[in-house]
Point group: C2
Chain length 147, copies 2
Amino acid sequence: MANNRLSDLLHILVYIQMHQNQKLTSDLIASSLNTNPSLARRMMGQLRKADLLETTQGSATPKLTKDPKDITVFDVYLATCPDSPLLKVDHNTSKECQVGNAIPGVLNKYYLDIQSAAEAKMRHVTIQDLINDVEMSIRHHLMVAEQ
Amino acid sequence: MANNRLSDLLHILVYIQMHQNQKLTSDLIASSLNTNPSLARRMMGQLRKADLLETTQGSATPKLTKDPKDITVFDVYLATCPDSPLLKVDHNTSKECQVGNAIPGVLNKYYLDIQSAAEAKMRHVTIQDLINDVEMSIRHHLMVAEQ
DNA sequence: TGTTATTATAACATTAAAAGTAACAGCAGA
DNA sequence: TCTGCTGTTACTTTTAATGTTATAATAACA
């Protein structure tokens, strides 16, 4: 998966939570994402497998499995694609070359540290935080439009 | 560029520094990377543009521009590809939808924070650190082989 | 001053991954 | 039962990176 998949999954969760009382077909969700219903359903499938979303076949009633305060960006990041770090070590190096042989292991150590730092930040942001900001942004947008 | 390009650029700098007294053709460097000389030269070109490597057309004498202690992983990360963050916000959302319109800006704020945390870690690792670890790994490898 | 080796670079082909698209079986609800 | 929707699969298209080839320009040296 690409590293912009997270953006779409967060978008979907925020959209669904903010439209709980309204119609929530994959068609509507897809149009907010500027994509097609099939891809939207596939992405919702990722969220379902990560136990972040409940869906019912035949019924346009997706629902977060938890309070948005209890879902972090990190949870959603884990849903994007297992074992796909932000930085990838190139393991396809020459094993005949001493440097080529040693480099992947060495880089891996530092990459894990970088990854952890990023993940720590992800753990501190919740879907509710995003919703609050989106609502604020919408209010601000309306105020500007009214002037 | 892919997010494993950084791995190759670090590899190149370490390799060059550790073979300063030896032959350093793009062919040799490419074989350590398990790739082709043309791509190796292209990657060295990225390092040259970032002012991390000096090369001379016609002469197989690449050389780091600075002491390896003074080149950080972050410097090399900047060389990989300008304006390509670890996480990408999907800006292709519906502007007619309030959520679709607001989400990119909201996510961007949090993504910058995540990016900064990762970059801070990168700034604390130098090429010299990598060289030390590679040398240690080679020594350890030899010791095990001798037993 | 040639000759050979090498780099820098461009053009093109190949590959791989993601996204787009279409189709269809199965469930929900009226 | 009928309609609308989901879950899923298969296939096509697109895009980005890499692989490959070729060529002009420079360096080193006999």
